[in-house]
């Protein structure tokens, strides 16, 4: 049987011995090919969870395996098959888009670097931007470049932290459509952290609702809407964030 894309077992992270845990006993198993959403308010533990999944953070306790590789012992083998995009982590701004992509193609050992860059540039409408310094791009263009970097190694597991933050609705929709198409074509597993409920509802087959580092609820967007008797995920999010049960929900 194929190992899950992500397996987290009793994952806990405390930044200080006397501080409350940022992530508290998180366990989940995300199957291959699935797109899951990580939802929660500020400080819910989304960034900490993603940091641990990527090996940027060492968990206080618990275990993570990505694509069958134990992240404590064998994280580099997993990292070669994964990738990550976040608007909060920049790419070097003074070198060109093509040079940035070349750097990451080398880091990920991508064969046929120039062809891969051309293909990605064509798919993500970056061809005319390849020689421009990455710092001289608009927010939407930077997001597309970050996406190209995240896809340079054709990852089997993609972690996206708010992939459409600060984008106008048109560009955000374009990115979401592109991700849907990419997932359908490649079978890539995607874990998405977002504050955009419509995005999560559209892209994700399963949602983990985080609050104070714990999973307080989970399920498909449709099952969560039914459970909370709501019309959209934003209302469900507010119910969970404010600790309201279904019977307390105003009509």
């Amino acid at each position: 049987m194929q190992s899950p894309a992500i397996l987290a077992e009793a994952l806990t992270k405390r930044y200080a011995a006397d501080a409350p845990p940022a992530v508290d006993g998180l366990s989940f198993s995300m199957p291959r090919g699935a797109t899951w959403g990580l939802l929660g308010g500020n400080g819910a533990g989304k960034t900490t969870t993603i940091g641990m999944l990527l090996g940027l953070l060492v968990p206080t306790s618990g275990r993570i395996a990505c694509l069958g590789h134990d992240m404590a012992r064998d994280r580099f083998a997993a990292l070669a098959r994964m990738n990550f995009s976040s608007p909060y982590i920049a790419l070097p701004s003074r070198i060109s888009v093509a040079e940035n992509l070349r750097v990451y193609a080398h880091l990920y050992g991508v064969p046929g670097t120039e062809r891969r860059i051309r293909d990605l540039a064509s798919q993500l409408q970056l061809t005319d931007l390849l020689d421009r310094p990455a710092g001289n791009l608009s927010a939407g263009q930077k997001t597309r470049v970050a996406l190209a970097k995240a896809l340079i190694n054709t990852p089997e597991l993609l972690l996206l932290d708010e992939p459409t933050a600060s984008l106008d609705p048109d560009t955000g929709d374009w990115v979401r459509s592109w991700l849907e198409r990419y997932r359908a074509e490649t079978g890539c597993s995607i874990l998405l952290a977002s504050h955009n409920m419509a995005e999560v509802e559209r892209l994700c087959g399963h949602v983990l609702m985080l609050k104070q580092g714990k999973v307080v609820d989970q399920g498909s967007p449709a099952s969560l809407l039914a459970k909370y008797g709501r019309d959209d995920l934003e209302e469900v999010f507010l119910d969970i964030a404010r600790g309201r049960q279904r019977e307390e929900v105003p009509a």
């Binding site: 940027l56 976040s86 003074r94 040079e99 070349r102 080398h106």
Partner: protein, 267 residues
Amino acid sequence: MRSGALRRVWGMVYRHLALYRRSWPRVLELMYWPILQMVVWGFVTAYLAGVQANTASVAAGILLGGALLWEVTLRAQMGFSISFLEEIWSRNLGHVFVSPLRPRELVAALMAMSVIRVVVGVLPAVGLAWLLYHFGLFSMGPVVVLFFAALLAMGWAVALGVVALILRYGAGAEALAWSVLFGLAPFSAVFYPVSVLPAWLQPVALSLPSAHVFEGMRAALLHGEIAWGHLAAAFALDGFWLAVMAWVFMRQFHSARVRGALLNIGE
């Protein structure tokens, strides 16, 4: 090193070369200080020649040789540390550390950048010393290559310590990248022998590879000898300090992963 590892190291080196290709002020800055040092020390030796002609030619070699070789240490350390800082300034560390690049490969790339920066920065000053003051650094013979290597390695050891401190204290510690080696200059016996130092300071000086290199340089310039003992001591101390600082770096790297510092080190 396997081909995958070599390619990752090249990826990081390429990233910095691309940066320099697009930024002539950065390239100019590499050459500026070594050339300025050379000009200042050249005038000092010219002045000494006017004051006391006999000692001037000996002093010129020692001063210019010292200034040039000290620049090797300084540029090696700064080349390593500043290349790391470039990742922090561009807020790119998060992407680098979630790639399959191992910490030792990052260190190898920083060392390679340090060598490139030393060559670009110091060679023009060496040429200028020959043109303006008729001082040929390579007139000491092939041993000068060993001096270069020993001082490069010392620069890397200091830089590993600086990068470890940046990992520990964040970008607030970046001033160390420019200043820390100046604190070692008085004990490195660049322009005077170790014996000039007070007796209690001499063991401190002799624990530094640089003091042995500069003793070796003076032996070559004054007596035409190769001080194999000093060279061996310099390389042994390089090995010792590199091992210590690599351990400190790895400890701080792990600690940064525990504290979550890699997520926000540039802030």
